[in-house]
Symmetry: C2
Subunit: 351 residues, 2 copies
């Protein structure tokens, strides 16, 4: 059957093959929270142990990092980028991630490539104790080029209602701890790809030991372990921001009360080498650069000044135990502080 469908560019056999590969991959220890539902029209997750659960959910993609992965034919880590991005987003709400569903679409369904991508998703889920509850794999021949794919994910976590962060907990004088980024993460790739043409991917980054390809594909880290380590050290983390599109100026003010802003001291951290090179080659102004890229800060925690030493020690210890992929030397720093916002200026100052 399905000769007509195959001629139209959709292979039922390839779809079945991909699903079989996912099943094999999901083998091993069963997650007792995942229940058998009839017919597999959806995934079932038992939400036990909460008194007054608030579900916290986020959907994201990885931007045109998918095109870099496709060009390099490196499919194994893009799923980790996706999962970790999603985890960091809900970590900002103090939520524990519970399960994830993925959406994978390809111009031509190559079961081996689909398997590599989903293997990366599954690995990052396992590392963060997240159940990979389901997903959809679609073959869409005329929407995507034969060699291209798209991937998106939705994460669902939970937090006790009384453990939700309160926006007015943050006051002027609080300090901002920055956790380091190891590269572009999943942001700014459309510009990066314009500046760095594919024929340069095998070149070496200026003044660095890595190839441009490796630097571009550096895995977006999950900061969940580091956040939990800081909290476990008894620090009251008042607010958190995942530094994605829009950079520090767009993401930090989102978690501050309206009257407050943030002042950053850029001498406190370093910009990834390839990022600095892209900023230079693109001729971005400082303001443009900080609004386009994370500029080396992947995640911010806001704590009282009296908690800074303890928070930094805990974050650094956690970064030793769970190093940022490809960034064993990267560490946490006190990168700025909260101050009254300028009444008619921007809410962040990076000096």
């Amino acid at each position: 059957m399905s000769d007509a469908y195959a001629a139209a560019g959709v292979s039922i056999a390839a779809g079945a093959d991909a699903v079989e590969r996912y099943r094999t991959m999901a083998g091993g220890a069963r997650d007792p929270r995942v229940l058998e539902g009839i017919g597999a029209f959806a995934g079932c997750f038992s939400l036990r142990g909460y008194r007054d659960a608030v579900l916290v959910a986020s959907t994201d993609g990885v931007g045109t990092k998918v095109l870099v992965a496709a060009a390099l034919r490196r499919y194994g880590t893009i799923g980790q980028d996706l999962v970790n991005h999603c985890i960091n987003d809900i970590a900002c709400l103090n939520a524990q991630p519970l399960f994830l569903l993925d959406y994978l679409a390809m111009g031509r369904l190559r079961p081996d490539i689909a398997e590599s991508i989903v293997a990366g998703i599954a690995a990052a889920c396992r590392q963060n104790d997240v159940a990979l509850l389901g997903g959809e794999t679609a073959e869409m021949p005329d929407l995507y080029d034969e060699k291209h794919f798209e991937v998106a994910g939705t994460i669902v976590g939970a937090v006790e209602r009384d453990a939700m962060l309160k926006v007015d907990a943050v006051v002027a004088g609080d300090c901002i701890i920055g956790l380091p980024a190891n590269g572009f993460h999943t942001n700014g790739y459309t510009l990066v790809r314009k500046v760095i043409a594919e024929n340069r991917y095998q070149d070496i980054v200026e003044g660095a030991p890595a190839s441009i390809a490796d630097a571009l594909m550096a895995v977006h880290p999950s900061y969940l372990s580091h956040v939990r380590a800081v909290q476990a050290a008894g620090v009251h983390v008042k607010a958190m921001a995942h530094i994605t599109g829009g950079g520090l100026p767009a993401n930090v003010p989102r978690v501050l009360p309206d009257a407050l802003g943030a002042r950053f001291d850029r001498a406190r951290w370093s910009v990834p080498v390839l990022m600095a090179q892209v900023v230079r080659e693109a001729g971005l102004t400082d303001d443009e650069a900080y609004r386009t890229f994370n500029m080396g800060v992947g995640f911010c925690l806001i704590v009282a000044r009296s908690d800074v030493a303890r928070a930094l020690a805990a974050a650094r210890a956690a970064l030793s135990e769970f190093p940022i992929p490809g960034g064993a030397d990267l560490t946490a720093a006190m990168i700025g502080e909260v101050e009254p916002a300028h009444p008619c200026g921007p809410r962040t100052f990076i000096g």
Copy 2:
């Protein structure tokens, strides 16, 4: 700022405009289950009122129906297709849908088009009492053609653990109630588009009053109201199947115990006119046709024979109250029954 980014094909201003339009759209009555979370990195949903909640989640797209919508520049209903597809999937697990997150990607972010698409998503969510909890809109210039877009969604619902359906509830002799499909729903479009070229979209369907364009864009219905009406009539719905990719032969056996199969009497329902035309023009065999398209059955409920009359009456009354879009004359029928599976043959027989 962001001149460089704009030159690379990503418009921050268009993104901000789209988000502003979503916000306006979401206005009106606030859903008290949706809580304010700091920073909007994720959506927050209060899960109250459950004793032992099982979360039921599904991710889906609408296949290359997006290409039909893009070709016709009809963006207002594709979001309804998406949401209703997701709702039907988790309805099969007896789950009540709670919230949805969408993923929208475009080659060039046109805020007006994004608004239309998300308006359709929001409308279907409202109709089904589902909170639109969040989403992601991505501009990805080199992955998608400038005129193309992709849309996917993740729905999360819940069911009390003791209200989950049990696969062994279904026995030989049980009957299958079919709820009518109004067209291809979100399935088989890659083949349909090969058979029906775009220059025929304005033609009239053979022997029907509708244009091919209208028939192709018929909105995938949500069957949730009809399912709930049958249950409210006191019928024990033992199992349910959403008839999507793979048709009746792939989807009904998924909800049956291994030893059972299903026998359908195709005289009991009718095939949508354009679907019959596509089957003819593509030269599909019966077997191919039933495995590729829903062939007129959108959703199946399995009930005891003694419940059939009551189930049919309730389903028909519900279809009068909540008619299938574009199918006011469509009604429910007893379309088949459960029987012991042939030991070495297919598990469905359509005669």
